[in-house]
């Protein structure tokens, strides 16, 4: 890893999510809420369509940080608010989530704070997405 300072930008990451990815994540995470795979149920609860698991978006945004770190165990704290859904259409293209991150603070205890932005359709889908990482 190169020199890390306040303002250092993480290599951006762009991830495409399809319905198949939602089914796979449902199985892996054991979150089988039908709003993540069933159009009818999503519609009944007033959603604009089938939406991605917030925790999937959060996991993708975590990857932005762990790709940069190399050792995922160096990500010690990680949190986010789910402020807007990622709507995943029933086609081969899916939804595209754009992830960027920036070092906001380098602390004396050898950790740093990284602020993450996750955008879908040009709008932020995660709020206060913050990772605290242990620097090598």
């Amino acid at each position: 890893m190169t020199e890390i300072a306040v303002g250092t930008e993480l290599p951006p990451l762009s991830v495409r999510i399809t319905r198949a990815d939602l089914v796979r994540y449902a199985g892996a995470s054991l979150d089988f809420n039908p709003i993540h795979w069933n159009e009818k149920v999503a519609d009944e609860v007033g959603l604009p369509g089938v939406i991605a698991h917030g925790m999937l978006t959060m996991a993708l945004a975590g990857r932005l940080v762990t790709d940069w770190l190399g050792d995922p165990g160096a990500l010690i704290e990680y949190g986010a608010r789910f402020i807007r859904p990622v709507i995943v259409p029933n086609d081969d293209t899916g939804a595209c989530v754009e992830l960027t991150g920036k070092v906001r603070e380098v602390r004396e205890d050898g950790t740093a704070r990284v602020d993450i932005t996750a955008k879908f359709d040009g709008k932020a889908v995660l709020g206060k997405a913050v990772a605290v990482v242990r620097l090598p």
Binding site: V15, D21, R24, Y25, G27, A28, S29, L30, D31, V45, G54, M55, L56, M58, A59, L60, G62, R63, T66, D67, D71, P72, G73, L75, I76, E77, Y78, G79, A80, R81, F82, G127, K128
Partner: protein
């Protein structure tokens, strides 16, 4: 019916153990499209100083769903309407990464209940420890239960 704020402070009994397997870690990593070798390759994990493959930072969401949400939904005293519930936020504070071979148990605490603008906000703290009592991760979550339209 709104949730009762005086239920804050309630904790559910420690759960049975969940044994973290290499195959589950790999399945989870595949599902988030993350090729990091530390999730798959024991030698790569060992080279980084871990005794076995480690899990992605959000892996404990499995325990949150399997144990914490189950406890809440099946608690008639709480009266949570699952169909109106959405996940507001989530965070994980790791003492160390979850890893294959861990036998993890969970205690779910209701830290706070607020009624605001017709919605209920439920703040949870989930302690994830090994069966030997080693703290591995603390997850915090806010669930929002939307009031009737």
């Amino acid at each position: 019916m709104p949730l009762d704020p005086s239920y804050a402070g309630h904790a559910y009994p420690r759960t049975e153990a969940y044994e973290v397997g290499r195959a589950k870690i790999r399945e989870f990593a595949d599902a988030i499209g993350d090729p990091n070798p530390m999730y798959r390759d024991v030698e790569a994990a060992e080279a980084a100083g871990y005794p076995d493959v480690i899990a992605p930072p959000t892996f404990a969401t499995i325990l949150f769903g399997k144990f914490s949400l189950e406890s809440l939904v099946n608690d008639p005293e709480l009266g949570l309407d699952y169909d109106r519930m959405v996940h507001g936020d989530m965070s994980f504070t790791h003492e160390r990464p979850v890893r294959a071979g861990d036998r993890l148990t969970v205690v779910t605490h209701i830290d706070g209940i607020m009624n605001r603008a017709g919605n209920d906000f439920l703040n949870l703290r989930v302690d994830v420890d090994t069966v030997d009592g080693e703290r591995v991760v603390v997850a915090r979550a806010q669930l929002v239960v939307r009031g009737p339209e």
